[in-house]
């Protein structure tokens, strides 16, 4: 089984969609450092994608420092590196611009949009310190199981 949720949307690159879904699972704490990540073979088979695409996805996540390969074990979720935080913020520039454009178009003001952002922030794993071991120190927010 693939440890993150993905619903494919037509017309978007599979590579980007899967990288996004995996990254989302990692930043939201659904996947934690040390958790096993599916092999290229499993990813390809489960998601019905070309093995080369699956390979590129894993290679990309490894090069981004989100996954690490452990000999004898396989690929596991890495501790998020603190360096290049600025680079990562830059990666979001386009999305932030889009969000601001949409907000202005819909007549949502700055306070409202910031409130909406922080609501989502909370939902995906609460307030986070800016320290390096972002994930490692996180208490298990297992949610309220009924």
């Amino acid at each position: 089984m693939i440890p993150f949720r993905i619903t494919f949307r037509a017309g978007l690159s599979l590579f980007e969609q899967i990288v996004y879904a995996a990254t989302r699972a990692m930043v939201s704490g659904q996947l934690r450092p040390g958790d096993p990540f599916p092999s290229v073979r499993a990813l390809s088979k489960e998601l019905k994608i070309n093995p080369n695409t699956a390979h590129k996805i894993v290679a990309h996540l490894v090069s981004e420092g989100l996954l690490e390969t452990r000999p004898g074990i396989g690929t596991v979720v890495a501790v998020l590196p603190d360096s290049s935080r600025k680079d990562r913020t830059q990666l979001l520039e386009h999305e932030i611009e889009e969000l601001v454009v949409e907000a202005k178009r819909l007549g949502i003001d700055q306070t409202e949009i910031l409130a909406a952002i922080s609501a989502h922030w909370q939902r995906l794993g609460g307030d986070e310190p800016t320290s390096a071991n972002h994930f490692a120190n996180r208490p298990h927010d297992g949610g309220s199981k009924q």
């Binding site: 494919f8 037509a10 017309g11 978007l12 690159s13 088979k45 998601l47 019905k48």
Partner: protein
């Protein structure tokens, strides 16, 4: 090992006065999952039948696994798995009987893989083929063509008319074989092949409009929107890499088929000095296919118009 698994040169087939295929040059390298896409009647089945030596070409040639198609005989077919939507199966046989029947023909038949496929596809060994659903028959066909680990798997419209569940099972079976084989399949539906294919070719009215690695294709196509400082008509003499150019007031839009992050913006500024803003949007495979097909039709119409004038 650099010998392509499939190669055709100027492959052409006429049926009487009907041109089914014309001048097809195609190369499929080992290890690819190659999808040949095209509308019904585009010539996909004809191409596959020519590869398989079921039909003779009118002109040109093709080779499969390094052997000229017209010399393909018994022993070569032991390394090719062929499944067609129109294949006739011995309907009176049971699924188990079918497998027993095929097994001795193939020295590389793998009993373990056979058992795995039977289980994976949930095949009812005791039931007769004539009593099976279309999907189940297709799965039986797949099992009998994959069990001998062929070096090339040729599939003619393998998923058409199947429910999504069966389609998923078949794709999974194919993906499992992918590391050790070359897969060539035809389909009239882009959506059903785009997730797992590595290469794609597009056949329209017997012509191969392009044949390319999937990722290269999506990297080189962009929808370009140029905002101009003041309203202006389309510049004259557009480069051939600008497809389907249109303009309205201050906006110029086209599809670039050789996008390059560095070169394209300067190319645009040189041709459209009043450009105020340029945006490049990645395109879905479907949008790319449409752009290519429309461009092809436009130029075909233009040519025939010119012929009339001349």
């Amino acid at each position: 090992m650099n010998e392509p698994t499939i190669r055709t040169q100027n492959l052409t087939k006429h049926f009487g006065r009907t041109v089914a295929l014309t001048g097809v040059d195609l190369t499929v390298s080992a290890g690819a999952i190659y999808a040949l896409v095209g509308a019904n009647g585009a010539g996909k089945t004809t191409l596959i039948k020519l590869l398989m030596n079921i039909l003779r070409p009118t002109a040109g040639s093709s080779a499969v696994l390094g052997i000229d198609s017209h010399r393909l005989t018994g022993s070569a077919f032991q390394s090719i798995g062929y499944v067609s939507e129109n294949q006739e199966l011995p309907e009176g046989m049971t699924v188990g009987g079918l497998l027993n029947y095929f097994r001795p023909f193939y020295p590389t038949w793998d009993r373990e893989l056979e058992a795995q496929l039977v289980q994976q596809f949930d095949l009812p060994l005791q039931r007769k083929l004539k009593n099976l659903s279309r999907g189940m028959k297709m799965k039986a066909s797949f099992a009998s063509s994959l069990a001998y680990r062929p070096a090339l798997i040729l599939l003619d419209e393998p998923f058409s008319g199947l429910d999504p569940l069966v389609r998923d099972e078949l794709i999974e079976g194919l993906i499992e074989r992918a590391p050790e084989t070359t897969i060539f399949l035809s389909s009239h539906d882009l959506a059903e092949i785009e997730s797992f294919s590595s290469h794609v070719g597009y056949l329209e009215q017997g012509r191969l409009l392009f044949s390319e690695e999937m990722s290269v294709l999506s990297d080189r196509f962009r929808e370009v929107t140029v905002t101009l400082a003041n309203p202006a008509p389309l510049p004259a003499n557009l480069p051939p890499t600008w497809l389907l150019a249109q303009s309205a007031d201050c906006v110029l839009r086209f599809v670039h088929n050789h996008f390059d992050e560095q070169a394209t913006p300067s190319e645009i500024h040189a041709l459209v000095p009043t450009a105020r803003d340029i945006s490049f949007d990645p395109m879905s495979l479907r949008a790319i296919f449409l752009a290519i097909a429309k461009t092809h039709r436009d130029s075909a119409n233009e040519n025939s118009a010119q012929e009339k004038v001349a």
